[in-house]
Every structure is written in structure tokens, then in C-alpha cells.
């Protein structure tokens, strides 16, 4: 249980190290990010949506991971985002497009597409692992609460039963 908590904390920090600089980079160099997205081989309409939704989703993922209550949502959102990015790079590596411009942030701008793919795959696996570990911790804490409540209910029931017996006597 303690080991699981340590792993969840480590994965949380790793994901924060990914999402915070990535979203900050997009916001600080917004014009460069916008140009990079619009150069990608999909429609400009989708690009316009992604320009605003991507940084927002990354910030939401980071905030959810920081908050203990919504960490599960944060891991889920991270997994979905990383799955989308990894899938996109995977399709690009398969040669779906002749040339794919990189709209990468400052953190990973030095990587080529293959390195970028493995980098994303590592974070995708970490997010999924974190999600399952966090879900297990949630379930354990929930079942723990039920056990405590059950114990107190039993005690309460015993007390009532004893009181009734005493009353009859």
C-alpha cells in the first residue's frame, strides 16, 4: 500500500513535469504554437479548436493531478491526451503524411519523431499505470470507510439490542 502511494506520487510528479512546462510554453509562445498547429496536416477548423483546447486540457490535467481528490481524473485525462498524441505520431511514423512539421514545445523540440514517439509512449504507460494504482487506492479507502461504518453500525445495533433486553428485564 505504501509502495503504491510512493509510485503514484512519483508518477504525479513526472506528469506535472510534463504538463506544466508544456502548457506554459504554449501560453508564453502562443503565436508560435498557433502557427505550428495550423501547419499540421489536418483542417484549419480542427486546428482552431485544438489551439485553445489543448493548453486548457493540459492545465486541467495538471490541476487535477495536484488535487488529491481529482487525481484519478487527472491520470485519466493524461492517459487520453497521451494516447491521442502517441497515436498521431504513430500514424506519422507509418508514413501517412510525406512531411510532418513538429509543433513541439521547448522541452522536446530537440527530439526527432521516433524519439518523440518513445517519449510519449513512456508517459502514456505511466499515466495508465498511475490511473490503475490510484483507482486501487480509492477502492481501498472506500472499502475502509465501509468497514468502519459497518463496525459502528454493528455496535449501534448491539447497543439497541442490549437496551431492548434490559428494557424487557
Amino acid at each position: 500500500m505504501k509502495t503504491k502511494r510512493y509510485i503514484v506520487t512519483l508518477i504525479s510528479i513526472a506528469l506535472l513535469l510534463l504538463w506544466i512546462p508544456a502548457s506554459l510554453d504554449k501560453l508564453v509562445y502562443f503565436q508560435a504554437f498557433k502557427t505550428g498547429i495550423l501547419r499540421q496536416p489536418f483542417s484549419d477548423a480542427l486546428g482552431q479548436i485544438l489551439i485553445y483546447t489543448l493548453p486548457l486540457l493540459e492545465i486541467i490535467a495538471a490541476i487535477c493531478i495536484v488535487s488529491g481528490r481529482f487525481r484519478l481524473v487527472g491520470f485519466g485525462l493524461s492517459s487520453l491526451l497521451m494516447a491521442a498524441f502517441t497515436g498521431y505520431i504513430g500514424i506519422a511514423l507509418l508514413g501517412a503524411w510525406e512531411k510532418l512539421p513538429c509543433g513541439c514545445g521547448s522541452v522536446i523540440s530537440g527530439m526527432n519523431w521516433t524519439q518523440h514517439f518513445w517519449f510519449n509512449l513512456f508517459f502514456l504507460a505511466s499515466s495508465i499505470w498511475g490511473y490503475y494504482l490510484q483507482r486501487g487506492l480509492h477502492r481501498n479507502s472506500d472499502s475502509g470507510l465501509v468497514a468502519v461504518e459497518g463496525l459502528s453500525a454493528k455496535r449501534q445495533h448491539t447497543n439497541i439490542f442490549t437496551n431492548i433486553l434490559n428494557f424487557i428485564r
Partner: protein, 104 residues
């Protein structure tokens, strides 16, 4: 204080990451100074430009350009070359060849 740090450890880590990454970003050269992989000269560096104004060149006044003038010659030549391909522009046919004539 210690209790506060332990309770908000993850938020403090996030804050530290945000501050660190923002500081690192400020060292990154601005993208606006780069265009197609070439460094645009910085006007604040006096070595890169000769800011000596031309004699007789004032705002709102047409400069009397003579063919023998060195600057006019350079300007004329630079206008004849496509800056992207470094090839001369194809010859354009004049709109009106005869002075005073009116072409439709």
C-alpha cells in the same frame, strides 16, 4: 508551517516546476528574431547597419535618382532579383510603349 508544507506538498512541487520552467523559458531566444533559419540583424547593434542618411533624402520628398548614382544602381539591381530564388525576375512587357497613348 511543517503541517502546511506536508499537506500542500504536491501544490508546492507544481509551483516550483512552473517557476523553474518559466525561468528556463526566459533564456530561450525569442522565435520572432528568427525567420527561415536566418538571424535577422539586430538594429540595436551599430555594426550591422550604416544609419548615415542619404543627402537630399527627406521624408515626403522624392529622391532624384540618377543612373550613375551608386545607391540608385544598387537599389535598381536588388529590385530586379527575386530574394527567394536569387534569380532575376522575368522581363515584364510594358503597359504603354508610346508616351501619351491609352491602352485598354
Amino acid at each position: 508551517m511543517k503541517k502546511f508544507i506536508i499537506k500542500n506538498a504536491m501544490a508546492l512541487v507544481a509551483l516550483a516546476i512552473a517557476t523553474g520552467s518559466y525561468t528556463l523559458m526566459s533564456f530561450k531566444p525569442a522565435l520572432e528574431t528568427q525567420e527561415f533559419g536566418r538571424e535577422i540583424p539586430n538594429p540595436s547593434q551599430p555594426d550591422q547597419f550604416n544609419w548615415v542618411p542619404l543627402e537630399g533624402l527627406e521624408e515626403g520628398v522624392d529622391y532624384d535618382c540618377n543612373a550613375s548614382d551608386e545607391i540608385c544602381k544598387e537599389a535598381f539591381e536588388s529590385h530586379q532579383i527575386d530574394p527567394l530564388t536569387n534569380a532575376p525576375y522575368p522581363n515584364e512587357t510594358p503597359v504603354s510603349s508610346t508616351p501619351g497613348s491609352f491602352d485598354m
